[in-house]
């Protein structure tokens, strides 16, 4: 009986560790590979670099434009976070706390945009619209479209909003606080945890977004984000000679989000698990 148990546990652990290794290995390869020379990467068949070259990073940063890409990614992601949280929290406040004509229509509209799967087709009218508004020659077009996709964050903040007692609003009203003042001074600070989760989620989405910035920067390489610039290395004519840049660039793109994940993995998971309970 005991032997059986020990054997069973060993099998279990071997399976878990093996799968953990499979999960981690592509990321480990990326991190270690970013210190190797191109020749080492394409013919070396080694795990650890022969010498640790930091030059990949400096070259990718200066010659392969990764400084521009990183800056663009930061601008897009941070603006999307601020915009999304503002727009979604204001909407969630009035939907939860007030009654007005059209509330049901608005909520169903938000739900509708979440569930319709039409693929790349919407990118075309979105792009043409931004050209008409003259917003396609900056990152504003990308940022606005990212903010417009705030339905999931709206529903998350709505559920957090329901957890804030309505007596607080009543008390503030008796003290002579206007609706707006109540929102900015009382509700928003209490919404902190919800805003944090929403910020992580939005940042992850915007930082990792590929198709949208790709479409918008086809004729404007100076606006490319990390994901687009990196994928273009693969499409480039000299792709074979740039594997070391690919690895360094992939690292630059992965590391910020990995660091955030190490510190806040509970919040990241809460997000996913929470979506199940609706």
């Amino acid at each position: 009986m005991r032997i059986q148990k020990i054997f069973g546990n060993t099998v279990l652990w071997v399976f878990l560790l093996l799968f953990g290794l499979i999960t981690l290995i592509p990321v480990i390869i990326t991190i270690l590979g970013s210190f190797k020379t191109n020749i080492e990467l394409t013919t070396g068949a080694t795990l650890l670099p022969d010498k640790w070259h930091l030059s990949n990073y400096s070259e990718a940063w200066e010659q392969a434009n990764f400084s521009t890409y990183t800056l663009n990614s930061l601008i897009v992601a941070l603006s999307a976070v601020v915009g999304t949280l503002l727009v979604a929290s204001m909407a969630a406040y009035v939907v939860d706390r007030m009654d007005f004509f059209g509330k049901k229509i608005y909520v169903s509209m938000q739900a509708f945009t979440m569930f319709v799967a039409v693929g790349a087709v919407v990118l075309r009218p979105q792009f043409d619209l931004m050209v008409k508004l003259d917003l396609h020659s900056s990152l504003w077009g990308v940022i606005l479209i990212l903010i417009s996709a705030h339905a999931s964050i709206f529903f998350i903040l709505l559920s957090f909003m329901k957890g804030i007692p309505k007596e607080l609003d009543e008390a503030a009203k008796i003290d002579g606080s206007s609706l707006g003042r109540t929102f900015w001074r009382i509700i928003l600070p209490l919404l902190g945890p919800g805003l944090g989760v929403g910020a992580l989620f939005t940042f992850r989405g915007a930082w990792n977004e590929y198709l949208l910035p790709l479409v918008f920067t086809m004729t404007k390489p100076e606006l490319q984000t990390l994901t687009v610039g990196l994928a273009n290395l693969k499409y480039g004519i000299s792709a074979a000679s740039q594997t070391h840049y690919m690895m360094a660039g992939a690292c630059l793109s992965i590391l910020p989000i990995l660091v955030a994940y190490v510190f806040a993995n509970k919040s990241f998971m809460q997000m996913t698990a929470g979506s199940l309970k609706g």
Partner: protein, 301 residues
């Protein structure tokens, strides 16, 4: 009365940014596609109304139906591998285990990094010619010349494996959330009755997990049918269209492929809109059929 008007004004002004963005950038593009699916429109010149001609063209578009077939192979493969694996991992991690928090965080990690970036990394790993994986296969004499991972024979398997790598942690977490809802005392009383772990899993966990499982599989089906980003970067739909899924085919009707690379396809907005409508119908139909077929899961006896 005055107060009422003031309140309504406040409500609408706070709702306005969200509503206008959703209408203009969320709803209008869908309406745009609805209109142009009846037009011959290539993005320049005038759009000509052609009624249902785009749809008859879809009927005879073998390239499109090939991509639909590929989508089903891709989605089926992804589900068959990722759902059992993620359920197994969740079931193991759910029974108090030392280091389970670390393991959970490790398994979930792929879901926080960019699909496109990882597709580039997987390209350097699976590349048939001096890719990292083949270097190792050759070095350790597992295979003399390496395996043509991205060649016509194995490309679909490779994109499925990459998709599974990215998805397992996500579904594992959802299954874990579902498992938390099964009361512990059911397991305890069955242990007293002499049920072993495998029997418990078969007769308690699976049935009790029914409704949650139905939802997770539904989500997984829709996600798998919609996914094309990693395929786009990894194989561009090639070689010879072997990994072209329907949403990637659709993308190519609207935009030239990545980095302005020479695209074999002409952009056609009218026809693309019609294709988009058909793909949405296909996703919807698969969901409805699955939903009816899986009703049994929802019954806890």
């Amino acid at each position: 009365m005055n107060n009422k008007i003031r309140n309504a004004t406040f409500a609408y002004s706070y709702l306005f940014p969200s509503a206008i963005l959703t209408l203009v950038l969320g709803i209008y593009p869908i309406a745009w596609a609805f209109r142009y699916m009846f037009y011959n429109y290539k993005g320049y010149g005038t759009a000509r109304f052609i009624g249902l001609d785009n749809f008859t063209r879809i009927m005879h578009d073998t390239q499109f139906w090939d991509s639909v077939l590929n989508t089903f192979v891709y989605a089926g493969g992804k589900l068959l591998l990722s759902i059992p694996l993620s359920l197994l991992l969740a079931a193991i991690l759910n029974r108090g285990l030392r280091g389970k928090h670390v393991l959970r965080a490790v398994f979930f990690m792929p879901t926080v990094i960019s699909t496109a970036v990882m597709a580039v990394v997987f390209f350097t790993i699976f590349n048939s010619y001096n890719g990292i994986l083949n270097q190792f296969l050759i070095k350790f004499n597992i295979s003399a010349a390496g395996i043509d991972w991205l060649g016509p024979k194995h490309a679909m398997l490779t994109v499925i494996l990459v998709a599974v790598w990215g998805a397992v942690g996500n579904y594992m977490l959802l299954f874990l959330a579902g498992l938390q809802n099964i009361p512990e005392d059911v397991y305890e009383s069955s242990s007293l009755d002499g049920a072993n772990k495998i029997q418990q899993f078969r007769f308690i966990t699976l049935p009790m997990l029914g409704p949650v499982m139905q939802m997770i599989i539904m989500l997984a089906i829709i996600t798998a049918l919609k996914g094309y980003e990693s395929i786009m970067v990894l194989t561009e739909g090639g070689p010879v269209g072997k990994t072209e899924v329907m949403f990637l085919y659709l993308y190519k009707l609207f935009f030239p492929l990545g980095g302005g690379a020479a695209s074999t396809q002409v952009q056609e907005f009218g026809y693309g809109s019609a294709v988009s409508f058909v793909t949405a119908i296909i996703v919807g139909m698969v969901s409805v059929v699955y939903f009816y077929a899986s009703r049994r899961m929802n019954r806890i006896d």
